[in-house]
């Protein structure tokens, strides 16, 4: 699969590694606000966040991730991707963003204009994942071509409205991976594509 790029946003500083910071409400709120603000400026729209819905989403995601975490070195890298996909699922289910004013100059061919809320959620998860795997594995995250494809976004929006779980599969697609469309939100530790890299990249504890 060819590699592409996505809107990268500088996330707030944290004395903790990103994988720890994102499991803290204070950083989660601050980083989400940063991304929403950036997306809003990029497309010329005003986007509001329902903090209560966002907090609900955080709790729901945290519980799921804590429950599913295999605590296995072998599948640790794969779980980073899966956890980010689960966050996208929770954000789409909770819908914390609301467009207060539409983009000043709408571009119907741009996914960010087509579905600004969904774009915020996706870009947030992609940036958190990218920052985490950069810290943990020294890996530079890219994205699949589909992130720019409007037809994929049509399908993304339609499918996730009917079944939020498909967000995990779409996220995999957007990050250049191979989605599991049958059981999109289940984490299979035996999946060979989830194996952690064997390189001894510096790791934070």
């Amino acid at each position: 699969m060819s590699e592409s790029s996505f809107l990268t946003v500088e996330l707030p500083d944290s004395p903790d590694p990103i994988r720890v910071a994102v499991r803290r409400m204070r950083w989660f709120r601050a980083s989400f606000a940063t991304v929403v603000d950036r997306v809003g400026r990029e497309i010329g729209a005003t986007i509001e966040t329902d903090e209560a819905a966002l907090a609900q989403c955080f709790v729901s995601w945290l519980r799921k991730v804590e429950h599913l975490n295999p605590h296995s070195e072998k599948t640790r890298r794969g779980f980073f991707d899966h956890a980010a996909g689960l966050m996208l699922r929770e954000l789409i289910n909770a819908q914390p963003c609301r467009i207060v004013s539409q983009p000043a100059e709408p571009d119907p061919a741009d996914p960010a204009h087509f579905w600004p809320e969904g774009y915020c959620y996706t870009i947030y998860c992609m940036n958190v994942r990218a920052a985490a795997i950069q810290q943990e594995y020294g890996e530079v995250a890219a994205s699949g071509e589909e992130i720019h494809d409007l037809r994929t976004w049509w399908s993304f929006r339609e499918n996730t409205t009917k079944n939020g779980a498909t967000a995990v599969a779409f996220f995999k697609l957007f990050t250049g991976g191979t989605p599991n469309w049958q059981m999109p939100d289940s984490f299979n530790p035996n999946d060979a594509t989830l194996l952690s890299p064997t390189s001894s990249a510096p790791r934070l504890n």
């Binding site: 803290r24 409400m25 209560a52 966002l54 955080f58």
Partner: protein, 225 residues
């Protein structure tokens, strides 16, 4: 309000509570009169207007005295070791809890509230135990039993009753006290604790008085504030 000074608590703490009660009653009284006369027609409204002006002056007077004597800054702070046995005295805890509970209640959508430092101090004094989760759990229950939040009135449209907001506020306060505050502004951490309490609303309200359930929730979320 106690009629005599309590030998176990400093006079300043009792005075602060007394002044806050006066201020609260004055504000509430003004609001009640305003609300009930606003639709009663011109003659009643005019008569009531004079009464409201009197009550308003009284409320402002109480406010001025409160600010002068209490030095209320609204700043929330508490040492990181607050929950360790013997690390903090009851008065210091009550003073910090007063500011923190007010901040939480405001964020939860309350427009007026009455928090008692005396009752918070008594709740703190009654708590035993050595572990921080154990102490936080006991303190949350004790504050509720002592009625540290005497009253909380919610804004119209807020889907939370005053009593429920009080439960969430006690939990949020404990979560804040347990959380690592070393690298962030204490108020930011308190806002995060409040958001967590609101998101855990059903769990917290179902756990009322259940020591094990409250302890489990505090343990589950203390590192995620």
């Amino acid at each position: 309000m106690p009629r005599h000074s309590d030998p176990g608590l400093p006079g300043a703490l009792l005075l602060r509570d007394a002044l806050r009660i006066v201020r609260h009653v004055a504000r509430e009284g003004r609001d009640v009169v305003q609300h009930n006369t606003s639709k009663a027609g011109r003659p009643v409204e005019q008569i009531a207007g004079a009464a409201i002006a009197q009550v308003d002056r009284f409320a402002h007077g109480a406010e001025e005295v409160a600010h002068l004597m209490l030095g209320e800054s609204g700043k929330v702070c508490l040492p990181a070791t607050a929950l360790q046995a013997g690390a903090l005295n009851a008065s210091a805890f009550a003073h910090a809890a007063y500011a923190a509970l007010g901040h939480i209640l405001r964020n939860l959508g309350a427009h007026s509230w009455l928090v008692s430092e005396v009752k918070s101090a008594r709740a703190f004094e009654s708590v035993r135990g050595t572990g921080d989760i154990e102490r936080a759990t006991a303190l949350a229950i004790s504050m509720r039993d002592h009625g540290a939040i005497a009253e909380a009135r919610m804004d119209a449209g807020v889907p939370l009753a005053g009593q429920e907001a009080a439960q969430l506020a006690y939990f949020g306060l404990m979560l804040w006290m347990l959380a690592d505050k070393s690298s962030d502004d204490a108020q930011e951490v308190l806002d995060a604790a409040t958001a967590l309490s609101l998101a855990l609303r059903d769990d917290i309200l179902n756990a009322q008085g259940d020591r094990e359930a409250i302890a489990a929730l505090l343990k589950e979320f203390r590192d995620h504030v």
